[in-house]
């Protein structure tokens, strides 16, 4: 995460946002989430900003939806202001194959509205965003069994995003 996206409490100018968002709206823990990857992208210290976490199951049977969850948590002792793009928080998920080619991207090629949302995370509060990948490529065809890399990001007000580290999922035959 980079500085334009996150502001200290002193810069808070706007009302708090209490409720979570996300298209799937699933904020409950999912048992199949075995792999958890934490990222502190661009953050100089553990106290400096939110922790971006990607939850993705280690393996899924072919044809079954792959639940993916991004969590942005304020692990600091102070409220944290986030400037996030979209009327609903806009997040992207990119799936690449073992060759590094992009197989599927949540946002695809559709334009995203350029409105900016102001959101404050209380200490310990997390923003959770979830989506189910249907194991289909961008063109809509089922992907073959194999290992896939998943990355998540939350769009902000700058060229940077709140990025997770990659997670791995295996599609079983």
């Amino acid at each position: 995460m980079t500085l334009p996206a996150v502001f200290s409490r002193a810069t808070l100018l706007f009302p708090l946002l209490a409720a979570g968002c996300g298209d799937a709206g699933d904020s409950e823990p999912v048992d199949t989430f075995a792999a958890q990857v934490e990222a502190r992208a661009g953050v100089p210290s553990a106290q400096a900003g939110p922790v971006v976490t990607l939850d993705v199951p280690q393996s899924v049977a072919a044809g079954s939806p792959v639940p993916i969850r991004i969590r942005v948590k304020n692990e600091t002792a102070a409220p944290l202001d986030l400037y996030l793009r979209g009327r609903d928080v806009t997040f992207d998920i990119v799936v690449t194959d073992s060759a590094g080619d992009t197989i599927w991207r949540r946002l695809g090629d559709e334009p995203v509205q350029a409105i900016l949302q102001l959101r404050t995370l209380a200490p310990g509060e997390a923003l959770e965003l979830s989506h189910e990948w249907d194991q289909r490529s961008q063109r809509g065809s089922p992907v073959p069994p194999g290992r896939y890399t998943v990355r998540g990001s939350v769009l902000t007000d700058g060229s940077s995003t709140l990025d997770s580290d990659p997670g791995m999922v295996e599609i079983r035959p």
Partner: protein
Amino acid sequence: MDLKTTASRFIVLTSSALLLGACADAPTAVDAPSSGALSRSASADRLADLFAKASPAVMALGGTVFADNDESIGKLVFGVENARAIPGVTRALAAVGASSNEYVVQVTEPIRHMATLRDRFRPTQAGVQIHFGRYVCTMGFNVDHSGGRSFITNSHCTNTQGGVEGTTYAQPSRTVDPTVIATEVDDPLYVKGGSCPRGKKCRHSDASRALYSSSVASNRGDILKTTGANNGSLTVGGVFTVTSQDNTTKNFAKGTVLNKVGRTTGWSQGPVDRTCVNTNVSGSTVHQFCQTFVTAAVDGGDSGSPVFSITSGDSVQLVGILWGGGTGYFVMSPLASIQQELGSVVATK
């Protein structure tokens, strides 16, 4: 006075003194300072005392810019905006006992706060930040409309996209200035059926109109200009003047260079890449007919930016309003479509 320089000097001198003290044999007698050194010291003390009296007296006067006790030349230096301010400064210095060889008064450029697109502007001008609810957008452009003096921004920059809810706007934010500058009065509903794809709701523009509060001034025909195209600057360096508006074009020629000014990425400029595109909007059921894609920067907060072509110098033709984009491109609704849905507007100076 240059505080950093002075502080540095102090630190260097103090450090030097400590080092000297540490290296010297303890009982050695200290030489008395020379009379020249004493004279310089006395002069410096007098200037410091004089500065303490002169600075507040002079800086209270109109047209003054700075006051400096310039140790390098052993004089007080006062900056003024123009020569007309000099006599007043001279009188004030005489009143505190300064002789003419103890100071210099010089004309200098005034120090200005560099306003950005996120600052407060009255009268309002296009391209500035507006705030509603928990969201931030950009004010598109000021217009005269049969319904009254208004500004145009995006439909999705209202409490609900499509339909009028009386969204109230602050500029730049409610905290900086809680004044309601304008209230949403027109935002046509998105419609289903007809040529609208199944499962979608459609319009020809992502635009709404907000009626100004009578007490809030607005400048029609002004679009704030930042320091340069595609440099990411938000600092205002001038004004574009809307001298014409394109009321007819929906199909812009590919390669036409268009510009926008928005509160997040400033002034960006690039060629039309796709024209009259029917497009879905990510994360929603909204479908927009006949939109224009431009290869130029956009990011969260730029929604509502005025889109224009430069005709000559700072004269521009208004062509539309930005509402979104993807990697390396923005999408805008043509002014012709905006007027088709909101009624005709006059946006020129």
